[in-house]
């Protein structure tokens, strides 16, 4: 947590950092409330990182900041993706550079059918999976393609949200509680999919309350508490270290 003192603003270290996605001391605000309070971590290409923490720890806010949404507003810090300065971009530019966020409340667009929701993801380049391939993975969506997206069941909506990310050619997938509301069978299904995705070289950050499931999947884990990083290490370690789990995750 001492980077601040050693950092030389003139020549950014992060810019030349070997890591694929680097988040350096980001500080973000909702209006005047200071929520993300200097979060830093790095991810290598193709890695899965679990971002954990209690309710209100700032996980969602961190992901939103990385995806460059307007709220919370990034006031300090840098985010580099494959030598691209994400912190200077807007959400749509970040998306064009390969970031995809699956938001926690799914954000299926009202008024559009399932298929339109997917097509919408393929309007701006780069385009990823074809619709057929997506329907192969989620046959449920194929059956419901003409239904209005928001009338899907909760779990179906979650599938659609993930599918929408895959419809784009992405480098980094930010998943905010992807298992929420999914039946155990589907959770297993998606975990497999995430492995498939990893095999394709896509880097993933996963936020999940089902910490065990996430840790099993992940290579590394970062734990947040009240907007700051309190742990950064191997996922395996967390799984094994009872005390650590108890302290930060209460499990």
């Amino acid at each position: 947590m001492n980077e601040k003192a050693t950092f030389d603003r003139g020549r950014s270290q992060a810019a030349t950092h070997p890591k694929f996605l680097s988040v350096w001391d980001i500080q973000a605000y909702y209006g005047e409330s200071y929520i993300v309070q200097g979060v830093s971590f790095d991810i290598h290409e193709g890695e899965i990182l679990a971002l954990l923490g209690r309710n209100g720890a700032g996980k969602t806010s961190t992901l939103r900041t990385i995806a460059r949404l307007d709220n919370p507003a990034l006031r300090h810090g840098e985010i580099w993706l494959d030598h691209q300065p994400l912190h200077k971009m807007k959400a749509h530019e970040a998306a064009a550079n390969g970031i995809a966020l699956v938001p926690e409340d799914r954000r299926i667009i009202p008024g559009l059918t399932v298929e339109e929701n997917l097509k919408l993801a393929q309007i701006a380049p780069p385009v990823g999976w074809s619709l057929e391939r997506i329907y192969d993975l989620f046959p449920r969506l194929g059956e419901r393609r003409r239904q209005e997206g928001v009338t899907l069941s909760g779990g179906e909506q979650q599938m659609l949200a993930i599918a929408r990310a895959l419809a784009r050619d992405i480098k980094v997938l930010l998943l905010d509680e992807p298992y929420e509301g999914l039946a155990p069978v589907i959770v297993q299904e998606i975990a497999k999919t995430l492995n498939v995705i990893r095999d394709q070289g896509i880097t993933t950050v996963i936020v999940e309350q089902n910490a065990v499931a996430a840790l099993k999947l992940a290579d590394r884990a970062v734990i947040l508490d009240t907007g700051s990083v309190v742990y950064d290490g191997l996922a395996q370690e967390v799984l094994e270290d009872e005390a650590l789990r108890q302290q930060y995750l209460a499990i």
Binding site: Y30, S33, R54, N55, G56, A57, T60, E104, D105, R140, Q147, T151, L152, S153, G154, G155, E156, Q158, M159, E177, E180, G181, L182, A183, P184, V185, I186, V187, Q188, Q209, N210, A211, L249, A250, I251
Partner: protein, 252 residues
């Protein structure tokens, strides 16, 4: 004869049979879980119970009275409260006010023009609400704007809003989804505690098997709009059909 009797309920959305001939009987003072794959029709069933949807056919009796055709607020006044799958709260109000409103609803009924008293003078109501917030561990957030709560907190708040009404039947649609494990456990304890303290029937939809098996006394498994089995938790765990359709390799 259960407190809630659902008989032959059907609901179609266009070509989709969302509910097909659902029969369900929930006994008074039990916790009844409804589980099933995504899109099985669980939420749709709850929607038919609280007046959000009108079934195409069938009957729904609560406490000996039909709920069909009644407005949502009338159904609530009969004693049915519901926690939604995506949190429905008063985002522009403070957390405390969010909990006070159901208190008023319980005390004053569906409408009362109390335009001249001040909120500040309603000490009872305020007391109840604060008490409830303490129960769900949110007392320190009571002056926060409900809209700026994190998602897990929104769920807890919504649950507090339903619990404070002391309903006869509480419908919970994935109450712990997105909740941290610690809080999930707290919630389980809270529900148990409430159950122990007074008469309440609960109907809970969950995908978190830990929650289901900690609470439920009976479980109905719904698949493609029809009840597959209705059993005790022990029997569900090993049920092959349920494993195949729903649980997969999950450990329970």
């Amino acid at each position: 004869m259960g407190i809630l009797e659902v008989k032959g309920v059907n609901k179609r959305f266009g070509g989709l049979q969302a509910l097909g001939d659902v029969n369900l009987s929930v006994k008074q003072n039990t916790v009844h879980a409804i589980i099933g794959p995504n899109g099985a029709g669980k939420s749709t069933l709850l929607n038919c119970l609280v007046g959000k949807l009108m079934p195409d056919s069938g009957s729904v009796m609560f406490d000996g009275q039909s709920v069909l055709g009644r407005k949502p607020h009338e159904i609530n006044q009969m004693g049915i409260s519901r926690v939604f799958q995506t949190p429905e709260i008063f985002a522009d109000l403070s957390v405390l006010e969010n909990v006070m409103i159901p208190c008023f609803a319980r005390r004053d009924g569906a409408f009362r023009l109390h335009a001249y008293e001040t909120v500040g003078s309603e000490r009872d109501i305020r007391g109840q609400a604060e008490h409830m917030l303490e129960d769900v561990n949110m007392a320190d957030k009571r002056h926060m704007h409900a809209g700026s709560l994190s998602r897990g907190d929104k769920r807890r708040l919504e649950m507090a809003m339903c619990l404070v009404q002391e309903p006869k039947l509480l419908l919970l649609d994935e109450p712990t989804a997105g909740m941290a494990r610690a809080d999930t456990n707290n919630t389980i304890d809270l529900l148990k505690e409430i159950k122990a303290k007074r008469d309440i029937t609960m109907c809970i939809i969950e995908h978190d098997m830990h929650v289901v098996f900690s609470l439920a006394e009976r479980i109905t498994v719904l698949a493609q709009g029809t009840p597959l089995v209705e059993e005790t938790p022990e029997n569900i765990k090993g049920h092959p059909k349920v494993r195949e359709a729903y649980l997969g390799e999950a450990q329970v």
